[in-house]
Structure formats: structure tokens, C-alpha cells
């Protein structure tokens, strides 16, 4: 079917040919043998059919169908009928009767199944019509007794997809066959063919998905299916049981072979747990996944999943976890393991030991130890979901999660670290657990280490030794992998601010201060020392007694770090020192934040100046832009906002400058060359507006309209400049028309915003529109020039949140002096590792650009799988770029950078317009507005030294 869509564009060309249906008819009549006919049909199926001729084609096909004796041809026709009824815009109710009629006399089971499939397609297209559905369901019921599994399969599928869902309506419409679809499907749970059994369960699930409330009576039937011989049946049955457990969690079911009764959800939980040790891994994955979403289960059942009663020689044994916990609580930590340390203690009552069928017992223990990593991942995910809803369970599953940090497959390790992070609110790590967690910091995989840093950011540690341990391990990590610097600092920042009281007693030791002796001043550029300071300063923020322990140089270092690493070091109230800015306490809302105030004030100031002399305006703008840029550097949370406004003001400044040019007064021919400034300004404004529109996340339509307005002004400027510099009206004519169209589309797109734009360029322009349309290009230019000069400066409202998309290339570092050597003509893979912040849909927009010294540029689209999402608003691009070039004599540097691709079609403005308007005006709109595609470089370029060697012969 997809092919049909693709071919849509080429279809128009073929319209002159005789109709499809006629051609087919001729072909089929010509066919001498069934094989021939089949060939024609196969060829026919490759080409799309227009909506108008579908019915005709169907008639021809049906006609041939009745005449055909060969089953394979009939099969193909039946499948074609299904394909044709899928054609968009075609309503298949006219062919339904015929399709049903063909069923009557069909002998071949395969063709029957295919016909039922066709009916299913027809039925799904006509879901609105209850009587059609009813009829099809009846047909399906009639064929349920067929001896072929394929036919029964399709019938059940049909019933599942089209069976009546609403009880009341069903009774009215159905007169004689007031059958219960659930009953019909349920009868086939015991079918002799496993495929039919699977289809029956699937049909039941389909009914559930369509909103029918399944009856509780199916539950015990479904439970029996769990012991089926075939894995697909078991897999589907697990799903069905899960569905029922969600529908009737509180119902009571009896436990077989005893008089007790338990809640249905608990019973189902136990049964699904049992399936975690099924023979087929597909079922195991399915079961493990579903366990995660059974949150109503009672806590003692839940906790059993982590319990596996250990014994050795019939004596009860404690698990390693229990022993570790005991050691910890007895005050002794990490004793050496001795022979017989784990010697079993109490005797076990042989009668009471239940080796199997103990419900949920140990399900997760098994799942996490499974052979297939798919099962292990599913189990970890399930643990995560259950732990998020139950704090006590979270506490219990901790040991198991920590164990998973040592899994052999990296994905599993990563997943368990992420899981741990997600449940970290509910847990406090014991020291021995922390020890295991920290051991993973030495992992050579960067992903794992960073995930672990993230985890440590939000972990609760219980003792000061724990903090010390974490710090020591992180510093070890830092020396082993210096590139982790930023991530480790950030991690320590959070560790400090979360545990101020635990850090306090460690301060003298960490700063190595001594009560009597002066100690040497540590090296300020040492990343490890900075790491320690980050921890201490962040702890000191909520611990006012801490600064008393600092030595003199610490204060100096504080001042330095506060300025150079302001995002890591918080403002502190230090004794005897005035703070540069007033202290920020958490109670102050962002609106009252002085830096925010400053931002708003400076903007106010700019917007209020309407009647200053041009020189003054320019100066003020320049100052404000400078202020804003500096503010953005200082206050990371305001950076987006400040940059955005600064860019806007910059545009405005450029516009004013361009209009202030004295050259406008000079006669045209004289400044042919001197218009460089004006046209460059126009170009730059255009670029900046695209940046504003696409590089910031959180831009609302209010801002978009202003950005577009600015762009319109830039285009006007361009038009004027061109008018001044080119001779003859011929090229101008087209440009004028284009511009007017743009104004028109602007008006249509932003009709609702226009009232807010009093006195602006576009406002004035629209007033003059009737005149503009009729006047000559030269006049248009004149009008434009005056309007542009007279129009007021639009106030740019600021959204709540605004973030600028940024990218930092971590690798390649660009510091290497060793060229990357490779044989020319072959490719070399360059690892690129970058972090992206505040990029929406990076898979679609982020590209890698490679610039060769000869000016050749290469654009690479990374695979969607290369992007990872470590946190909200952040992405990580880890990809490989293939380089190649002809031989060079010397090694030379190439530049690698990231680009943000945009397409004005995708712009936020166009998304707001109802689709129909777009469709109508599609033709009328100029090509430019239709889809300007471009790229914005948004990372610093990195230089890579490469050397393609000539191939040796």
C-alpha cells in the first residue's frame, strides 16, 4: 500500500492512458492459462489504482473470480480485493455484498481465509456502520466450524476486530443472533490447533482494547491456557490474565486444593510470576514486562518476588544480601569471607519447604538471573515500575539492582543504573551498597560512568563515611578518566547540597587544614581540588557554620571559582565579605530575582525610547546588547532569555543602522559598491531571525510573529537595496510581487496577532495594501522605504521559559597533534561525541558538518539510534563520521561542527494554521515561503588533524 502513496506524484502523467479497468479486463480475457492470469494480476498489483476506477476494477475482478477454476488465481483476486478496498477515499460498502457472496461457494480453505481477510479490511473501513459489522460477524460465526485452522483464525480475528462492544446496542440490532461474542471466542480457547487458540486469545484482547469489558469467568479458562504446549498461546494467555487482573483486581478467587481465597490480582500476579521461569524466553520476557504494571498487588506478595528461601543440606541459609546487611548493622564492615562463613544455621522442616509453585516466590531473582538479556532488562524495568509505587519494595529490591551493576551486558547495567536513579527518592544507600555502586565508576564505558554520576546526584547517603567514600572514588575516577571532569563536578555539587551535615565534619580533612600549622596552598587548577571545593561550597550554602573552618586561601579560591564556574559554585554569605549580588534565598521567586529585574528594566528602557535622536538610539542599543550578553554569561538560567532578546535588539540595531546610512540620499548610480553595509545587514537580520525561530525552545506564537515581522522588514530592506542598485524594472517586478505575497501570507498566518501590532511596519503596510498592489515597482519601493523609516519598534514579549539550543563537542577534542592517517580513497571513521541541550527532535534536526581545507563540505545525518536521552532537555550524540579524501602531501586540519537544520514549513507558525487553509493556498504561495531549508551552526567547530596517504602500489 505504501508504494501506492509514493507513486502518487507520478500518477498524473498516466491520466491520458486508457482506464485501468479496461486494460485489466483485456489482459484477463487474453490469459490462456491460470499461470498467465496470475502473472497479469501480479503485474497489475504493482501499480496504484485511482480512486474513481476502483469499483470498476473490483467488478472485473469479481467477474473473473466466478469464472476461475484455479484456486491460486482466486486467492490472488481475493487479496487484490482487500488491497483495493484499502484505497484512500474509496468506500467499500458497495462491494461488500459481492465479497460475502463469493464466500458461499468457495471450497478452497486458503481462498476462504483470504476472502475473510478482505472482509476484515472492508469491515475496518466501515467501522461506523453497525449493521455492516453485525453482518460480517455473523458471516464469521458461520465459518467458525471450518476444518481449516486458517479460516478459523481469520474468523476469530474478524470477530475480535468487529464484534459488538456495546451491550445495549448489540441486543437491539441483533435479532436472531443475539449471541455473546465473548462466549463464541471463549469456546475456541480449547481448539485443537494452537494457532486458533492464539487467535482466540488475541481476539479477546482485541475486544478488550476496543472497550468491551471482559467477563471474569474467562479467568480460569485463561489460567488453564498458561500450561499450554505452545509458546505463542502461553504468551497471549499471560497478556489476557494481566488484562483480567487489571479489570477485576479486587475479586476473590479460590486457591485450588485448599479452602482459602485470595484477591484476583494477587492470584494473577503469582501466576505471571510463575511464567518468569517458563521454558520459552519469549514468554519470560512477556511475563517479566507485565509484572511491572501490576501495582495493585498486595505488598507481601510483592516482597515474595525477591525472596528465595535458601537452604543447604536442608538447613536454612541466609542470602549474601542478608549477611551483608547483618554485618553492616552489627558495626563490622566488609569482613573477609571465610570458609564456612555462609555455613547454614537452622534446620529446615522438610515438610514445609515448597520447591515449586510457591506463587510469586523468587520470580525476580530468577528473572534477573536469566540467560537471555532481554528477560533481564524486562525484569529490571518491571522492578523499577513496582519500586516507584512502593517505597518498601524499593528498599528491598535495592540489593538486587546493585547486583545488576555487574551484569555482563552493558545495556543491562545501564538500564539498572537508570532504574536506580528513578527510584532514588525512596531509598537510602547502605555503605556496603554504596561501595558496590561506586566500584562501577571505574567502568571503561563513558555511558555507564555518566549514568552513575547522574545516579549519585540524586542519591541519599546515610553516613559521613559514605560521602567520603564517594568523594574518594569520584576523584579516582577523575584521575583515570580526566574527560569526566564536568560530569564529576556536577555530581559533587548535588552531593554537597544534599548532605550538608555529613560534609561538615569532613571539611578539615578535605581541605587538609590544621589548627596550628599553615598548610601549603593547593594548586588552583587541579581538577581534583576544584572537585573537593565544589562539594564543600555547595554544602556550605545551607550550613552557615562551615565557612568558619575555611582557611584564607579558600576564600580567595571561592571568589575565583564563583566567577569562573558560576554554574557549579553557589553564592555564599561569607563572614566579613560583601556579596556582589544580594543573597539569593530560595524563597524569592524568579520574577523578583534581581537579575531578571535587570533584564526587564533594560528592555523597558529600550522600548520606551521612541523619540531619541538616531545616534542616541544606536548607542543605547549597543549598551543594552552588551549588558544582556554579559548577563547571559553570568546567569545560566537567564542565558536563553538574554541571548534571545540581545539577538532581537541586534536585528533592530542593524536595521536602524542600515536605514541611517547616508547613502540613501545619494543618487543611485553613485553608491553601487557602497551598499555593502545595507545588504549585508539585511542578510544578517534574515539569518538571525531564523536562529531566533528555530534555535530556542519555548518560543511561543507571540514571539514567532515578531520574528516573522522582523524578517519581513529585512526582506523589505533587501528589496529597497536591490531596487536602488539594479537597473530596469524587469527583475524588480518579480521581487515586488513576491514580497507582496509574503505580506499577504503573513497577514493570513497571524491574523489574530495583528491587533497587537499597532503602528508597526506591517500594520502600516496593510493599510497601504490596495495602493501597493496597483502601483508600479518603483513606487512600491518608495512606499516601503518611508514606511520602514516611520514604523515603530515592536515590543518583544518574553515567554516564561526560553532555552537556547547548544551543543558541545566533547570528542574529538581538537587538541591532538597526531594526524589521523589513512589511505586515500578509503574511509576513516571519526568518533564524534557531543552533548546537546534544549534541542527538540534532535533525530530530525541535528547534522554533522565536516569542512575540508579545500572548501569541500560534507553533511552527515546521524542515525536516530545515535542519540541518547540522559535527562530532560538533554541529548547525547555519539556517532561515527566517515571521512575520505584524495591524497595530501601534508597533514592538515578539517573542521567538524554540528548544525541545526530547519525548515520553515515546520515552523511553529505554520503548525497553528488549520490544514485546509494550507492545502488551499499551497499553490498560490511562493516557493520560498513554502520551505526554506537551512542550517544553523550551533556548536563551536573542532579541528581534527588528518592525513590521507597515497595508496601504496
Amino acid at each position: 500500500l505504501q508504494q501506492q502513496h509514493e507513486d502518487l506524484s507520478t500518477k498524473k502523467l498516466r491520466l491520458t492512458k486508457p482506464s485501468k479497468s479496461a486494460a485489466l479486463h483485456v489482459d484477463l480475457c487474453k490469459a490462456t492459462s491460470p499461470a498467465d492470469a496470475l502473472q497479469y494480476l501480479l503485474q497489475f498489483a504493482r501499480k496504484p489504482v485511482e480512486v474513481e476506477s476502483v469499483e470498476g476494477v473490483v467488478r472485473i475482478l469479481l467477474e473473473h473470480y466466478y469464472k476461475e477454476n484455479d484456486a491460486s488465481v482466486r486467492l490472488k483476486i481475493a487479496s487484490l480485493l482487500g488491497l483495493l478496498s484499502k484505497t484512500a477515499g474509496f468506500s467499500p460498502d458497495c462491494i461488500m455484498d459481492d465479497a460475502i457472496n463469493t464466500l458461499q461457494n468457495e471450497k478452497s480453505h486458503q481462498v476462504l481465509a483470504q476472502l475473510l481477510d478482505t472482509l476484515l479490511v472492508i469491515g475496518t473501513k466501515l467501522t461506523e456502520n453497525p449493521s455492516v459489522r453485525m453482518r460480517l460477524v455473523e458471516v464469521a460465526c458461520k465459518h467458525l466450524t471450518d476444518s481449516s485452522h486458517g479460516v478459523r483464525n481469520k474468523c476469530l480475528q474478524l470477530i475480535g476486530c468487529l464484534g459488538p462492544v456495546e451491550k445495549g446496542v448489540a441486543k437491539e440490532v441483533e435479532s436472531q443472533s443475539a449471541k455473546d461474542v465473548q462466549k463464541i471466542i471463549g469456546d475456541h480457547f480449547n481448539d485443537q490447533d494452537p494457532r486458533v487458540r492464539t487467535a482466540a486469545i488475541k481476539a479477546m484482547l482485541q475486544l478488550h482494547e476496543r472497550g468491551l469489558k471482559l467477563q471474569q469467568t474467562i479467568y480460569c479458562q485463561a489460567c488453564k491456557l498458561l500450561a499450554d504446549d505452545y509458546e505463542q498461546v502461553r504468551s497471549a494467555a499471560v497478556q489476557l490474565i494481566w488484562v483480567l487482573s487489571q479489570l477485576y483486581p479486587e475479586s476473590i478467587v479460590p486457591i485450588p486444593s485448599s479452602n482459602e481465597e485470595i484477591r484476583l490480582v494477587d492470584d494473577a500476579f503469582g501466576k505471571i510470576c510463575h511464567m518468569v521461569s517458563d521454558g520459552s524466553w519469549v514468554v519470560r520476557v512477556q511475563a517479566a514486562k507485565l509484572l511491572g504494571s501490576m501495582q495493585q498487588v498486595s505488598s507481601h506478595f510483592l516482597e515474595q518476588t525477591l525472596d528465595k528461601k535458601l537452604m543447604s543440606d536442608l538447613r536454612r541459609k541466609r542470602t549474601a544480601h542478608e549477611r551483608a546487611k547483618e554485618l553492616y548493622s552489627s558495626g563490622e564492615f566488609s569482613s573477609g569471607r571465610k570458609w564456612g562463613d555462609d555455613a547454614p544455621k537452622e534446620e529446615v522442616d522438610t515438610g514445609a519447604v515448597n520447591l515449586i509453585e510457591s506463587g510469586a516466590c523468587g520470580a525476580f531473582v530468577h528473572g534477573l538471573e536469566d540467560e537471555m538479556y532481554e528477560v533481564r532488562i524486562a525484569a529490571v524495568e518491571a522492578l523499577c515500575m513496582l519500586a516507584q509505587s512502593s517505597p518498601s519494595f524499593a528498599e528491598k529490591c535495592l540489593d538486587f539492582l546493585v547486583d545488576m551493576f555487574n551484569d555482563e551486558i552493558e545495556e543491562v547495567r545501564l538500564q539498572s543504573i537508570h532504574t536506580m536513579r528513578k527510584i532514588s527518592n525512596n531509598i537510602t544507600l547502605r555503605e556496603d551498597q554504596l561501595d558496590t555502586v561506586l566500584a562501577v565508576l571505574e567502568d571503561s564505558s563513558r555511558d555507564i560512568r555518566e549514568a552513575l554520576h547522574e545516579l549519585l546526584c540524586c542519591t541519599n547517603v546515610s553516613t559521613k563515611e559514605g560521602i567520603h567514600l564517594a568523594l574518594v572514588e569520584l576523584l579516582k575516577n577523575l584521575t583515570k578518566y580526566p574527560t569526566d571532569r564536568e560530569s564529576i563536578w556536577k555530581c559533587l555539587k548535588f552531593l554537597g547540597s544534599r548532605h550538608p551535615t555529613l560534609v561538615l565534619p569532613l571539611v578539615p580533612e578535605l581541605l587538609s587544614t590544621h589548627p596550628f600549622f599553615d598548610t601549603p596552598e593547593p594548586d588552583m587548577d587541579d581538577p581534583a581540588y576544584i572537585a573537593v571545593l565544589v562539594l564543600i561550597f555547595n554544602a556550605a550554602k545551607s550550613c552557615p557554620t562551615m565557612p568558619a573552618l575555611f582557611s584564607d586561601h579558600t576564600f580567595r579560591h571561592y571568589a575565583y571559582l564563583r566567577d569562573s564556574l558560576s554554574h557549579l559554585v553557589p553564592p555564599l554569605r561569607l563572614p566579613g565579605r560583601k556579596l556582589v549580588s544580594s543573597p539569593v534565598s530560595p524563597s524569592i521567586t524568579p520574577n523578583e530575582d534581581p537579575s531578571q529585574q535587570f533584564l526587564h528594566q533594560s528592555l523597558e528602557r529600550v522600548y520606551n525610547l521612541q523619540h531619541l535622536d538616531p545616534q542616541g538610539i544606536q548607542e543605547l542599543l549597543e549598551f543594552t546588547i552588551r549588558d544582556l550578553q554579559r548577563l547571559g554569561e553570568l546567569q545560566s538560567e537567564l542565558a536563553g532569555m538574554a541571548d534571545f532578546t540581545a539577538t532581537y535588539l541586534q536585528c533592530q540595531l542593524l536595521l536602524i543602522k542600515a536605514l541611517q546610512e547616508k547613502l540613501w540620499n545619494v543618487a543611485a548610480p553613485l553608491y553601487l559598491k557602497q551598499n555593502a553595509l545595507a545588504s549585508a545587514a539585511a542578510k544578517q537580520i534574515l539569518e538571525e531571525t531564523y536562529k531566533m525561530e528555530f534555535m530556542y525552545s519555548g518560543v511561543e506564537s507571540r514571539q514567532v510573529v515578531i520574528i516573522h515581522h522582523m524578517r519581513l522588514q529585512a526582506k523589505a530592506l533587501q528589496l529597497i537595496v536591490t531596487a536602488r542598485t539594479t537597473r530596469g524594472a524587469e527583475p524588480l517586478f518579480g521581487m515586488c510581487e513576491k514580497f507582496l505575497q509574503e505580506v499577504d501570507s503573513f497577514q493570513r498566518c497571524f491574523i489574530s496577532e495583528l491587533p497587537h501590532m499597532q503602528g508597526s511596519f506591517v500594520d502600516k503596510l496593510l493599510d497601504l495594501m490596495p495602493r501597493l498592489v496597483t502601483s508600479k515597482p518603483s513606487e512600491v519601493v518608495k512606499i516601503l522605504q518611508t514606511t520602514l523609516r516611520q514604523s515603530t519598534f515592536l515590543h518583544l514579549p518574553l515567554p516564561e521559559q526560553l532555552h537556547r539550543a547548544t551543543a558541545t563537542i566533547i570528542e574529538p577534542t581538537g587538541e591532538s597533534d597526531n594526524p589521523l592517517r589513512f589511505t586515500s580513497g578509503l574511509v576513516v571513521a571519526l568518533d564524534v561525541d557531543a552533548t546537546l541541550e534544549h534541542v527538540q527532535d534532535p533525530q530530525g534536526t541535528v547534522k554533522v558538518q565536516v569542512l575540508y581545507p579545500d572548501g569541500q563540505a560534507q553533511l552527515i545525518h546521524p542515525k536516530p539510534a545515535d542519540f541518547r536521552n540522559p535527562g530532560p532537555g538533554r541529548h547525547r550524540l555519539i556517532t561515527q563520521v566517515y571521512l575520505s579524501h584524495t591524497a595530501w602531501t601534508e597533514p592538515c586540519q578539517i573542521e567538524v561542527r554540528l548544525l541545526l537544520a530547519y525548515n520553515s514549513n515546520r515552523s511553529k507558525a505554520s503548525a497553528k494554521i488549520p490544514k485546509s487553509t494550507w492545502g488551499d493556498s499551497m499553490e498560490a504561495l511562493p516557493q520560498s515561503e513554502n520551505g526554506i531549508e537551512g542550517t544553523i551552526p550551533f556548536s563551536k567547530p573542532v579541528k581534527v588533524y588528518i592525513m590521507p596517504k597515497p595508496a601504496r602500489r
Binding site: 466450524t145 476444518s147 480449547n190 481448539d191 485443537q192 504446549d229 521461569s277 521454558g279 528465595k308 528461601k309 535458601l310 537452604m311 543447604s312 543440606d313 536442608l314 541459609k317 542470602t319 549474601a320 544480601h321 573477609g336 569471607r337 571465610k338 570458609w339 564456612g340 562463613d341 522438610t350 519447604v353 520447591l355 515449586i356 509453585e357 523468587g362 531473582v365 534477573l368 538471573e369 536469566d370 540467560e371 537471555m372 538479556y373 538486587f400 547486583d403 545488576m404 555487574n406 551484569d407 555482563e408 551486558i409 558496590t436 566500584a439 571505574e442 567502568d443 571503561s444 564505558s445 583515570k480
Partner: protein, 600 residues
């Protein structure tokens, strides 16, 4: 009644010398042929004279199956085939066939060269014995002869270990060998399909143990090694050459890779190198991770683990050394131990069980001063650690396997009697199947109830299933046909075809029955009443009133005549063929009840 007989010659209520005889449907199969590590006399090999006093073993055994290469499962093989004399086929998996001779040769060397025994099998005998071996693939059904077939399933435990299904006709036995239900670093878990054998012969080494998760043990092990190496200490790990050694190697290798460690790891040369070579080859027998990554890199091509040289032991700085043998009783591991024992920075990790009397056992039980030969006293200052890495299924694992295979009977071998007792009781209680645990030489007889396959022609099957409702899996279905037993085969065919084949003419058998009814009316009126009555009751059948005054229900004919003596009594003649017996007798009983009065 058909029966399966099982006699363990070894491993009955015991560990070691696995050797089990199975007779199934007239076929005799020997499962494993191992030696006993505890004995040095005749008791070390199974008593093959049990099979036959005089006469060749080949005549009595149809085949021999070896589950894996451990000596307690294959150690007696050359003795059995070459010295006692057996020429029939021996089945084992490809890895077992490759590694088994290495171990046998090593065993021979130690016994003959070191201990100086005579009358032991020679190298040539091992070679000759291996020539009789037929290698099988996993899940490959091997036809031993026309009736006997065997099939191997994956068993974990060691490389190439397999469980075998032995099948004759509809009777089958599954022998597990040693197996492992939890995967480890280099092997996967045992798996079997729902083959529902008549008998499952399972090992039961850990019948009374439920083990802790493997991860804790692994983590502890790695942490210990890592800490010691970071301290600058040396780690000695005494291992046996095959099996666990590879698992620990993989474990350390991946850990070194992950953590970017630089300290060298050494492996004592010789046997192990050869064995590692085979591990590299048989990637398909390993676990998921190794199987998936071997295209990039074969995990057994160790990057960090190098061959050990005697001189390395004196090198300064940290290192990890794997050395044989595993119990520190002789050889390289003991030599290294003596060198390193004096330094408290060093560590020795015992990864397995140690027999009493060995140095390994002594240090594990806490002895710090050892008396070596020559009255030397060795003071042990190094740390001594114990880590159990064993690859047998625990009680839960055994139960899980039984659940997967769904056998009719279970028989336990390869375990201690006391422990088996417990597991036996559990199995009977939870699965409601019989469980046996014969001692060596004791024969267990199991009666089976095999189903007998009968060929049926498709036409007949279709015809018969078309009658009546859809077939129900749970209920038996009645079928009509003729059973022909000819040339040892059974066929179910339609009566017509049977007649044709046998060249017989068809005879019709009709039952006739007279039913007297009190009805004063005329004959045709009675007929009409009967007709209406039947029509009302037998809705699903075609009841017809024929013009000649008779009624047919399907093919049953009913005629009414007036009684010759009493005109008030009508005689209904009911006649049916024997095929319609069911309906016919029902009809007569119905008519005997008389006609309802209300219609009158």
C-alpha cells in the same frame, strides 16, 4: 505390559562413576561410562561383567551415550571399549568428542606415569576408542537403528554437556547427565522441550540446596581480586583445567576490560591451552553474550590473560595466576603457593571443594602453619578465600526441569541417598509422579502405557470428523472403521476399502424389531401419528414420510401393519443396519414408550 528397566552400575545413590543401563522396548542403552575418583582399585570402574559374563558386550548393548567430558562420566570408556571389548556406536556431542581424549590422556599419564600402574589403557587404546565415537549435534535426531533414536539437548554445566532423549517407538527416556539451570559467564542454562518422556533420569547433586544468586558470588570474587591487585598483591587461583577455569577466566577478562586494569593475568600452560582452543571453536555451545559478540571478538581470545612461565612467579608487582591442580595438593599451584604464602598482601582463592588431607582443605579450615615435606614449616600469612562456583542444578532447578519436560516417572542418580530421599518426596508430592532412586546394581522396573500409532487414510479421517461437532481435544472421539493388522503395521481404513483389499463381499446385517402399539385407528393414521411424533422429537434428523406408507429416519425404516388378530394393536416394524445401531435402538426404546395421548 511394556516396561523400562533401569540399572545403575555407578552413580546410584552416589556421586562418581556414572554408568546407567537402560532397557527400553527391547533395546539396551548404556548411559555414561565414568570412573570413580575415590578409588584406586577395581572399584574405580563400573562392573561390566554385570552386563554379560562371557560373550561380547556389543551383542548386548545397542549403543553407549556419553553426556559430557568429565572423567566421572567418561573415564572408563577406553577400558570398556578396548579392554573389555565393545565395538558398537558411542554417541557424544562434538565438543565432548574433541575434549574427552585430552582428559583421558591426562588421566592415563597421571595413573601410569606418575603412580606407575600397569594394566591400564594405553594412548593407542584411547585413539581406537575415539574412532568408535559418533558425534551428534544439538537437537539432531540420530537413528541408531530402525527403532532406536536419540536426540541431544543443551545442558549447560560444561562445554558440550548434553541431555539425551532415547526413544523407541512411543516410549522414551531422558537422561540429563549433569546440568545447570542458571546460566554462567560462559554457558547458558539447560533447556528441554515438553517432550513428556516415560522416564526422566536426573542428576541430584544439590538435591537439598537452594542456591543464592550467582551475582553476589561473582561480585565478591571480583572485588576481592580487584582490591588485592590494587594493593599490589598477587592472587593465586588454583583451578582444575577445564570447566570452572574458563568461567573464571571470562569473568576476570571482562572485568579487566571493563575497568581498564593493567595488572597481568596468567594461566598455567599445557592442558588448558589446548582446551581453550576448543572453547574458541565451539562458540555455538556458549552463552548468549559470547555467541552474539564473537563476530567482533571471540571472548576466548583473551587479551589480558597470558600463558604462565615458572619464572613469572618471582616478578614484582601485582598479578593474578590461575594454576592447576585445584586442591593445592601438588604441581604448579602448590609451588606458587609456597612462594607467595609468606606475604600478607597476597591472596589465594579456592573456587571449589577440597578433599580432606589436601593443602587446600587445611588452609580453608583455618590452619596457618603447614608442615611441608622435609619437616619444613610454612607459615601462611596470605589471605585465604573461598568462593563456590559450581555448575549443577539446585533443588529448584531440578524441579524446574521436571516441570519443563513433564515426565511420567522420575529416577534420581548422581547424588547422596539422604539428599535424594528429600527430593524424591518433594517430586512425588508436587508433580504426583513416581520417583525412584535405585542403588548401584539395583534394577528399577517402570511399566509404561505406550500409545500405539495406527495409520488412518485421510479420506476416512475427514469423513469421520465431519460427522458431529468439532473435535474436542479433551474428549475421545468415536470412529467407525476397520482395523487391519498386517506385517507389523496397523491401519484403519473404511469398511468398503477393507473389503476390497481382502477380496470379500459385503454382507448386510439388519436388525429388525417389532413394537406393538395400542391404537384403534387406521393404519395410515397411525403412521401419520408416529411420523408427527418422531418429527417433533428428532429435530436434528431427517424424518420422512414415504408415499408407500413407511417412515424413514435417516436410513431406518419403520412400517406399520395392523395386528393380524387384534385390529386395535398396530405392529411397528423397525429395521436398521448395524451401522445405525445407536439410533435404531434409541428409536425402538422411544416407540416402546408409546405415542403421546395429546395428539389424539
Amino acid at each position: 505390559m511394556p516396561e523400562i528397566k533401569v540399572t545403575p552400575l555407578g552413580a546410584g545413590q552416589d556421586v562418581g562413576r556414572s554408568c546407567i543401563l537402560v532397557s527400553i522396548a527391547g533395546k539396551n542403552v548404556m548411559l555414561d561410562c565414568g570412573m570413580h575418583m575415590g578409588y584406586n582399585d577395581d572399584r574405580r570402574f563400573p562392573d561390566f561383567s554385570y552386563i554379560t559374563q562371557n560373550g561380547r558386550l556389543t551383542d548386548f548393548l545397542d549403543c553407549v551415550i556419553i553426556s559430557h567430558f568429565h572423567l566421572d562420566h567418561c573415564g572408563a570408556l577406553p577400558y570398556f571399549s578396548e579392554m573389555v571389548g565393545y565395538d558398537g556406536p558411542i554417541y557424544m556431542t562434538h565438543p565432548t568428542k574433541a575434549i574427552c581424549p585430552i582428559l583421558l590422556e591426562d588421566y592415563r599419564k597421571i595413573t601410569v606415569d606418575k603412580k606407575g600402574e600397569t594394566n591400564f589403557f594405553t594412548s593407542q587404546m584411547i585413539k581406537d576408542c575415539m574412532k568408535k565415537v559418533v558425534a551428534v549435534h544439538l537437537h539432531q535426531t540420530v537413528q541408531v537403528d530402525e527403532e532406536l533414536e536419540i536426540k541431544a539437548y543443551y545442558a549447560g554445566h560444561v562445554l558440550g554437556a548434553a541431555m539425551f532423549q532415547i526413544k523407541v517407538g512411543c516410549e522414551s527416556v531422558v537422561y540429563t547427565g549433569d546440568y545447570n539451570m542458571t546460566p554462567d559467564r560462559h554457558l547458558g542454562a539447560a533447556w528441554i522441550d515438553k517432550c513428556r518422556p516415560d522416564l526422566l533420569i536426573s542428576e541430584s547433586t544439590y538435591a537439598t540446596t537452594i542456591r543464592d544468586s550467582k551475582r553476589c558470588r561473582e561480585r565478591d570474587f571480583l572485588k576481592k581480586v580487584h582490591e588485592t591487585v590494587e594493593r599490589g598483591g598477587k592472587v593465586l587461583i588454583p583451578v582444575f583445567a577445564l570447566g570452572r577455569a574458563q568461567e573464571l577466566c571470562i569473568l576476570l577478562e571482562t572485568f579487566w576490560e571493563r575497568m581498564n586494569l593493567k595488572a597481568p593475568i596468567y594461566f598455567s600452560t599445557g592442558l588448558t591451552e589446548k582446551a581453550n582452543h576448543y572453547y574458541k571453536l565451539f562458540i555455538t555451545w556458549t552463552n548468549q553474550k559470547i555467541r552474539k559478540t564473537f563476530v567482533q571478538r571471540n571472548m576466548f581470545e583473551f587479551k589480558h590473560i597470558k600463558a604462565f612461565d615458572r619464572a613469572f612467579a618471582d616478578n614484582p608487582g601485582p598479578m593474578v595466576v590461575f594454576a592447576t591442580p585445584g586442591m593445592l595438593h601438588a604441581g604448579q599451584s602448590l609451588q606458587i603457593f609456597r612462594k607467595w604464602a609468606g606475604n600478607e598482601k597476597n591472596m589465594v582463592i579456592m573456587p571449589g571443594y577440597c578433599v580432606q588431607g589436601t593443602v587446600g582443605h587445611k588452609i580453608l579450615s583455618g590452619q596457618r602453619k603447614l608442615e611441608m615435606e622435609g619437616r619444613q614449616i610454612l607459615e601462611v600469612k596470605m589471605q585465604v578465600e573461598y568462593m563456590s562456583f559450581s555448575a549443577h542444578a539446585d533443588a529448584k532447578g531440578i524441579m524446574q526441569l521436571i516441570r519443563q519436560a513433564e515426565p511420567q516417572n522420575v529416577l534420581l542418580v548422581h547424588g547422596e541417598a539422604k539428599k535424594m530421599e528429600f527430593l524424591k518426596q518433594k517430586i512425588e508430592q508436587e508433580f504426583h509422579v513416581n520417583c525412584y532412586m535405585p542403588a548401584n546394581g539395583e534394577t528399577t522396573t517402570i511399566f509404561t502405557n505406550p500409545s500405539i500409532p495406527v495409520d488412518i487414510s485421510l479420506g476416512l479421517l475427514k469423513r469421520e470428523t465431519a460427522i458431529g461437532l468439532l473435535p474436542d481435544v479433551k474428549k475421545p472421539k468415536l470412529m467407525h472403521g476397520t482395523l487391519i493388522m498386517k506385517d507389523n503395521s496397523f491401519r484403519l481404513v473404511s469398511p468398503e476399502q477393507a473389503l476390497k483389499e481382502l477380496g470379500l463381499a459385503e454382507h448386510q446385517l439388519r436388525f429388525t424389531c417389532r413394537v406393538h402399539i395400542q391404537d384403534p385407528r387406521k393404519e395410515h393414521e397411525t403412521v401419520l401419528r408416529v411420523y408427527n411424533h418422531l418429527k417433533a422429537i428428532l429435530k436434528d434428523y431427517s424424518v420422512q414420510h414415504l408415499p408407500d406408507g413407511s417412515i424413514t429416519v435417516e436410513s431406518i425404516l419403520i412400517q406399520a401393519t395392523a395386528h393380524s388378530e387384534d385390529q386395535g394393536t398396530k405392529v411397528l416394524l423397525v429395521s436398521w443396519t448395524y451401522q445405525d445401531e445407536e439410533l435404531g435402538s434409541y428409536l425402538t426404546s422411544l416407540l416402546k414408550k408409546g405415542l403421546p395421548q395429546s395428539t389424539a
